[in-house]
Symmetry: C2
Subunit: 321 residues, 2 copies
């Protein structure tokens, strides 16, 4: 067995303690943290396993980025601002160059979000990475999946389907969308008190929207013509396959959220200005929350079912078409 | 891939939200927690991997217990009171009876410590378990490894070497000490403002004491005749092998700590009364902190070196004999 903190110490020392709320970082039995007053904490964890979440031989820099990004994406979905993370790294052997590259990918993203790595564990075994991340939301204002109301607009950030295509395609843009997902932290923060429900798109739009509507006790109708598709995805896959990937492909790590029509009319202007100023991600309305449980789809306003779109039932739960 | 929270939901639902500081437990993108005022948080993580930390085919009930216990032991070493945990479980296949037994072992220990499981992730891959646990310590009073001072008494809880023997021996008591380690939470809490340094014994006494003294910038001398050994260990292994296991065997999860002579004289009476009343674990003085870096050993007051005790250098770092 590798020494518990030896490797992490060596390559992650830089990231250990740059925040006022970190009393003691990496190196003891645990980290000592002093939460800011007036905030709730959001705690999340996600694991990436070789062969399940990334291919054998994948870039360690990308794995380091993704292991943190998928957790930050969960924080974004709750509207949280990242603060601390723990890293549990299981490696088949001590490979310093692998660890160095992995740390590079992890720490670059951590620095971008002022997140402190405050501890971890390094063990020997088949390659996998579990990250636990903690963030702040103002007291009582964390976003949930369960607040969508009939009549709310269904919205999604960025474009969908790119990552699923990038897993198998050599197109540089699409591969980058799989290898280096962007956690929508600033977007999540801006949705506090505005969105009625939110989650991140990790298992595919239909699967995740089904979870959001089930948690809220409502249904939804999606307009397929409105799905945001990247030029690269359209060029490589064509319109029909692009739509299928947008509906069922996973690993996008965009935010899926709902808000009242009134909030949307107001907030869209604020976000559009911000987007123009600092190239924040674009937001697209893709549907509407309705009363009848389950999901329905329209194409240019006309009802379509999943078979017409070439979509198998498998791949998500709770789907009705 | 298994549904992210489906399995955890099914078997862990009972444990999700019984604490006032849990706003939202399992089931959303993350947990929402409201830390109590006046406390620091201690955050720890530890991974158990099949083949490294337990044998293939080991009892899932024991694995569930151990996965949480080794994390609680880290909390105990900081003097923390357990509050919340996240569970990241990687399984080669969906095996409901395995998960049910695992959950039984995990939750029995969680209930014992009023700990809420507030989230997690279930993924497919080689069997491993990563737990992250969070506990409270009163503001600014968390125990550290780095506070040992020259002249302090070196103390250890319980008996040493049992777990290392139990990994290979069929003796019921010794096996139980490996399969069901006890996190010394009440002891850790009672050491706040009393102990000068503390950590848990997970890699073996010599290895861990070397870390504690290095972190404190001091050395220590151990009296081998004082090592606390169980009757079972002595019966099965004999005195010499028992001492070797006590010095170098891992997985004891006892607490190793130091305090001034004055504090020891006072606190030992308090703890002895408590121990008599509720069978709390016994504490044994096993050495003394001194100025010269590294570790030295005596047997009935006479200096001995590791070779005389039949101990190889390998197995721990920083050791000087």
């Amino acid at each position: 067995m590798l020494g518990e903190f030896d490797l992490i110490d060596r390559y992650f020392r830089d990231a250990a303690a740059r925040r006022a709320d970190v009393v003691l970082g990496v190196g003891d039995d645990g980290a000592l943290l002093r939460p800011k007053a007036g905030f709730d904490l959001v705690m999340v964890t996600d694991t990436l396993v070789e062969g399940t979440h990334f291919k054998a031989g994948a870039s360690p820099h990308s794995i380091g980025h993704r292991a943190l990004a998928v957790n930050l994406s969960d924080l974004a979905a709750m509207g949280a601002t990242p603060a601390w993370a723990l890293l549990a790294l299981t490696l088949p052997a001590t490979d310093e160059s692998w660890i160095k590259e992995f740390a590079g990918g992890f720490l670059a993203l951590a620095r971008q979000h002022d997140l402190a790595l405050v501890g971890g564990d390094t063990t020997r075994g088949p390659l996998s990475v579990t990250v636990q991340a903690v963030g702040y939301v103002p007291h009582g204002r964390g976003l949930r999946r369960s607040g969508a109301r009939v009549g709310d607009v269904v919205l999604v950030s960025g474009t969908l389907g790119d990552a699923a295509a990038g897993l198998h395609d050599s197109n540089e843009y699409l591969r980058g969308r799989f290898d280096y997902p962007t956690a929508r932290i600033a977007l999540g923060e801006s949705l506090l008190d505005v969105a009625s429900a939110a989650m991140d798109v990790s298992d595919g739009l239909l699967a995740d929207l089904a979870k959001l509507t089930a948690a809220s006790g409502v249904g939804a109708t999606l307009e397929i013509a409105n799905l945001p598709l990247s030029d690269s995805l359209l060029a490589v896959q064509g319109l029909e396959a692009a739509r299928r990937l947008a509906l069922t492909g996973g690993d996008d790590y965009e935010l899926l959220f709902t808000m009242s029509e009134a909030n949307w009319e107001e907030w869209r202007r604020v976000w559009a200005e911000r987007s123009a100023a600092d190239q924040s991600v674009a937001i697209t309305p893709i549907g509407r929350i309705d009363q009848h449980e389950g999901l329905r789809m329209t194409l240019a306003g006309k009802s379509v079912d999943r078979t017409a779109l070439g979509i198998e039932r498998s791949g998500w739960d709770h789907f009705e078409a």
